[in-house]
């Protein structure tokens, strides 16, 4: 690290994600706002991907952060990173809403029709990190064989069990499991650095 006292290390200024969650548990509203600023783009994209509907996705996003506000004290850093914790909460709520709405078929057509306006969030250390992850993930997912990407996406974004995937796609269950394993192992190898950042 530089010994120059006038140089400010951005990393030293930014609270970590875990710091923010700890502050949220202490009822610090600004910490929740900061968490929202860091993760809302990601979580909203996830909710929208699952639900195919912007207004529903926004409602889920609101529910997620209210849950974070109420249950930040229960976050266990040994079990997952803050990012993964938030992703899993969002995914869970989105899939639950999806099931209750019975819109699995409509979701697909909605995704095909909607072309949301995208823009990147303002620059900041957290944002740069997310941008890097985003680029890397996109590249690695695109490099997965289509059939492996398909089973992974159906499991993660549609909440389908492996049995359900087998039934809906007509692929034998063993093949679904094999493709899932291959996809996950390939991604783990390619994204080792990104995974290590979260541990």
């Amino acid at each position: 690290m530089s010994q120059d006292s006038e140089r400010i290390d951005p990393a030293a200024e930014e609270p970590t994600d875990k710091d923010l969650v700890r502050r949220v548990a202490e009822r610090d509203e600004s910490a929740l706002a900061e968490l929202y600023d860091r993760f809302s783009g990601l979580l909203l994209a996830l909710a929208r991907r699952v639900l195919g509907d912007s207004s529903d996705a926004e409602e889920v996003l609101q529910e997620v952060f209210l849950q974070v506000w109420n249950q930040a004290g229960r976050y266990d850093g040994k079990r997952s990173s803050v990012s993964t914790w938030l992703v899993l909460i969002t995914r869970s709520r989105s899939i639950d809403r999806l099931r209750s709405r019975q819109v699995k078929d409509r979701t697909l057509s909605a995704l095909q029709q909607e072309k949301p306006d995208r823009h990147t969030s303002p620059e900041g250390l957290g944002s740069v990190l997310h941008q890097q992850r985003r680029q890397r993930l996109r590249r690695e997912m695109e490099e997965l064989p289509a059939e492996q990407r398909q089973v992974l996406e159906l499991a993660f974004f549609r909440g389908m069990t492996q049995s359900e995937i087998a039934t809906s796609t007509g692929i034998p269950l063993g093949t679904v499991k094999t493709r899932t394993l291959l996809a996950m192992k390939k991604l783990r190898k390619a994204l080792r650095a990104q995974v290590q950042e979260l541990l």
Partner: protein
């Protein structure tokens, strides 16, 4: 190498299983002691990275403001408690244990049996009834008797009032509160209590309604049977109200079913009395429920629907 591969396969599978188990209503997942926890954690984090492959959404300032506004308000009473945190082990849903029948709106008091957890206000038990607010003073009394009489007549003789007035829920609850405070007839008060509690429950927190349409008429009922199921957030608490069902023929009984992705799950039998609505509520429902059905079965327990399909509700309406 083969053993390493097996350990890794186990870790992947466990991470996937944990992902599925984190969904609301999922059964707890048995811990696989053979999978390396560190490896499972890596794969869990890998799953958490998948959404980064999606194009980022624009940050919604409006949603941010709404969230901050809500957390700044005084603590809002949450009728159903905190939602189970993802990653913790939800209790398995046991339909037989969770289903309880509340008495049909009739002369008897609702939910007064010892230990009864039926609906009384916002999730409170019968031991802690809601204190209804005193009737607000009104500037002139000339129109009150007529309004009160009209409200009494509507609420006592029309349970269809419930479903049809969902949109005007606040006005309804206000009218019921006032009428209840002014009423001295115990039978009317009990009726009001039940209606008010049910209205509060279904219109305060319900997110969906499943209209139940008659598939096949039973008996000589001139009025078509119909009903409605209100479902609350997180697809958990629900309330069923059926009207127009004729009492079942001798040796038969009505049976409620949850339509899930894995097939029909029994919700138990329904007691139906002449000219009275059949009601049921519970704090949870089977995972993956996407509809409700009432059939006419032979007396006795049933694991699968075998009898006549009487009512069906599969098309939810958002509230």
């Amino acid at each position: 190498m083969g053993e390493e591969q097996n350990h890794e396969d186990l870790a992947v599978q466990q991470a996937i299983d944990q992902l599925m188990a984190s969904e609301p209503g999922a059964q707890p997942m048995p811990v696989d002691l053979e999978a390396d926890p560190a490896l499972v954690r890596e794969y869990t984090e890998l799953l958490g990275l998948l959404p980064y492959a999606l194009p980022e959404e624009r940050r919604q300032a409006r949603v941010r403001e709404q969230i901050l506004a809500q957390i700044s308000e005084p603590a809002i009473q949450r009728p159903f408690g905190d939602i189970t945190l993802v990653g913790s082990q939800p209790e398995p849903v046991s339909v037989d244990k969770t289903l309880r029948r509340i008495p049909a709106a009739s002369g008897g008091p609702a939910g007064k049996e010892p230990g009864d957890q039926t609906l009384i206000g916002h999730g409170q038990t019968a031991a802690h009834p809601v204190a209804f607010p005193a009737a607000a003073p009104h500037p002139s009394g000339s129109w009150w008797p007529q309004a009160l009489a009209a409200t009494l007549a509507i609420c006592v003789f029309g349970l269809g009032f419930l479903s049809s007035m969902v949109i005007n829920q606040r006005a309804d609850i206000g009218a019921l509160n006032i009428a209840l405070a002014r009423s001295t007839d115990p039978r009317v008060m009990d009726e009001y209590t039940t209606l008010r509690n049910n209205l509060d429950m279904v219109t305060g927190v319900a997110e969906q309604a499943y209209p139940m349409r008659q598939a096949v008429p039973v008996g000589d009922a001139s009025e078509a049977a119909q009903g409605i199921v209100y479902v609350c957030g997180q697809h958990q608490r629900w309330y069923l109200n059926l009207r127009g069902l004729e009492p079942p023929p001798s040796g038969q009984q009505y049976h409620l079913w949850f339509m899930t992705e894995d097939g029909a799950v029994s919700g138990g039998s329904l007691d139906v009395e002449q000219d009275k609505p059949a009601e049921r509520d519970a704090l949870s429902m089977p995972k993956g429920t996407h509809g409700f059905m009432v059939t006419l079965e032979k007396d006795g327990p049933h694991d699968q629907p075998e009898g006549l399909q009487v009512l069906l509700g599969e098309q939810p309406v958002p509230l």
